[in-house]
Amino acid sequence: MTSRIFYIARNTFREAVRDRVLYNLVAFALLMTGGAVLVGQVSIGIERLVVINLGLTAISLFGIVIAIFIGIGLVSKEIEKRTLYTILSRPVRRWEFVTGKFFGLSGTLVVNTFFMGLGIFAALLYVAHHFEKSDAWVLVAIYLIVLQFIIVTALTLFFSSFSSPLLSAVFAFSLFVIGTFSEDLRGFASVAHGLTGWLATGASYIVPNIAALNVISSVAHSQPIAGALVLYNTGYALLYSAMAVCGATLVFERRNLK
């Protein structure tokens, strides 16, 4: 059972790596980081700030796009193109398929982020000519961004299990955007009364809390990040993703494949 999940994950990774879209997006992200170096040159003294801000934002945005683009292929495309038929006629359980796909794509994103992260550190070295101790916090920021990717991947997988590729992408992206403002949603819920209040509170916990995983500005200003924050965020991201994958499993288990 576990070996099947591993094989599916590995094949998903292979598929992502051979997808040309991936390379274009990674190249673009690296380009943006390079651009950050130029922008930094314009105002002396804040090159480091600009490189970190722009670089991390580029990684974040492009990573989300990659997660969604490749994520919609996880199930929707397989059903559309009917590659799934010959897989499921083998002793592969549907939930193994879903889980394997999730791990495969998460693995892809981690590897991607690694390369994009190298780009940022290269740019930092270039503008500052040496590393500072506070640059280590950039690693923490990147780690938290990877957690965001994992959440978005899980969500895309969930939508992918019952929607068309296009709709899955739209839903996942919308949830990501709403998730960026999840704290404001919670704030609104705390002053709303009655049913609206309950709904808003519920929504604010169902929606992925992307804002909590975004420490880009703090890191750019060399602020330290609390260890407890990283710990609880990890727990949150993993539990939330597991929840979405369970949801995907539930939906996919009963789905009729046309």
Binding site: W95, F181, N209, A220, H221, G247
Partner: protein, 308 residues
């Protein structure tokens, strides 16, 4: 499908567990970084930068920052904060994104200028904010009122207040009180009557709950500040007439000096102290009062839940 049913129930159970777990983790995260998103406001180098970051969705972002400003102030105030560092940046960004959000100027004119703990104690910043508002909304008389309010209340600059009221009174649809207030500034600035007019105007013309509640509390305080000296003079007259201080107002009613036992705006009866002073029964219920408090009394922070 036995196998399928097992998977389905297993997945459902796991899903609910993960949901509960994620909520638990999230609450922990929030506790650690409470207000962190708000603090990032300090990292935005200028309101103009905020505009750029909004990618064109200025209106929506303005609303979001406005909501954040209101909640920031409300929650910090409820916790007894003595400073509100982020209020000015939040309001600056809100108004930079949407210069026509007049309620933001009104909010700032009250809560940026007032001294802590009921405000940020930054009247100069408040003035700048409202002047920016006037520049972008030249036909809004209300903003001139807000400006005059700041000068009158915190800066005690009655001339500038009068100028502001006068300018505002010349605009179309201006509230008639602006002319009156402009006139009173020159002679009767320190009067209770003027203060009462100011706060009445604030209460009537504001659309924000917190501002209204604040104004109502001030009006009640003015009531007390007016009533207490009157009561004390009646007590004094009685003392001069009978040679002793009345123990309570029942004596005065029986003596025909008062029609009924006087009550303060919170509904509680006034008390007569042995030395002839009049005090309120429960000073904590009446924020902002300056008369009728026991000696050495320190007021707690008032709450503006908007329920007044």
């Amino acid at each position: 499908m036995k196998g399928s049913r097992q998977v389905a129930s297993g997945a459902t159970l796991l899903l609910l567990l993960c949901l509960a777990g994620s909520v638990f983790m999230l609450r922990r995260v929030e506790r650690i970084r409470s207000g962190a998103t708000l603090h990032e406001v300090l990292f935005i180098s200028s309101p103009q930068a905020a505009k750029r970051l909004s990618l064109g969705y200025n209106g929506l972002m303005a609303d979001i920052y406005w909501t954040r400003a209101v909640q920031y102030f409300g929650s910090h105030h409820a916790q007894g904060a003595q400073e509100y560092k982020l209020l000015a940046p939040l309001l600056d960004i809100t108004t930079a994104l949407d210069p026509h959000l007049t309620v933001a100027y009104e909010f700032g004119s009250t809560f940026l200028s007032t001294k802590p703990p009921n405000g940020a104690g930054e009247p100069e910043k408040a003035v700048k904010l409202v002047e920016y508002g006037i520049k972008n909304n030249p036909d809004d008389w209300h903003l001139y009122y807000n400006l005059g309010f700041i000068y009158y209340l915190e800066l005690k600059d009655y001339k500038s207040a009068a100028d502001a009221f006068r300018q505002g009174s010349q605009l179309p649809h201006a509230h008639p009180w602006l002319k009156i207030l402009a006139a009173r500034m020159s002679e009767h600035a320190g009067d209770l009557e003027t203060a009462r007019m100011m706060w009445s105007a604030a209460y009537q013309t504001s659309s924000d709950k917190q501002v209204k509640a604040n104004a109502a509390a001030h009006l009640r305080a003015l009531d007390v500040d007016e009533t207490v000296p009157v009561l004390e003079s009646i007590v004094d007259k009685y003392r001069k007439a009978t040679g002793r201080v009345p123990s309570n107002f029942v004596d005065l009613v029986q003596a025909g000096a008062l029609a009924a036992i006087p009550r303060d705006p919170s509904g509680r009866p006034y008390k007569i102290m042995p030395d002839g002073h009049v005090e309120v029964s429960n000073p904590d219920a009446l924020p902002f009062i300056e008369k009728g408090t026991p000696p050495g009394y320190v007021a707690p922070k008032p709450k503006f839940s908007g329920s007044e």
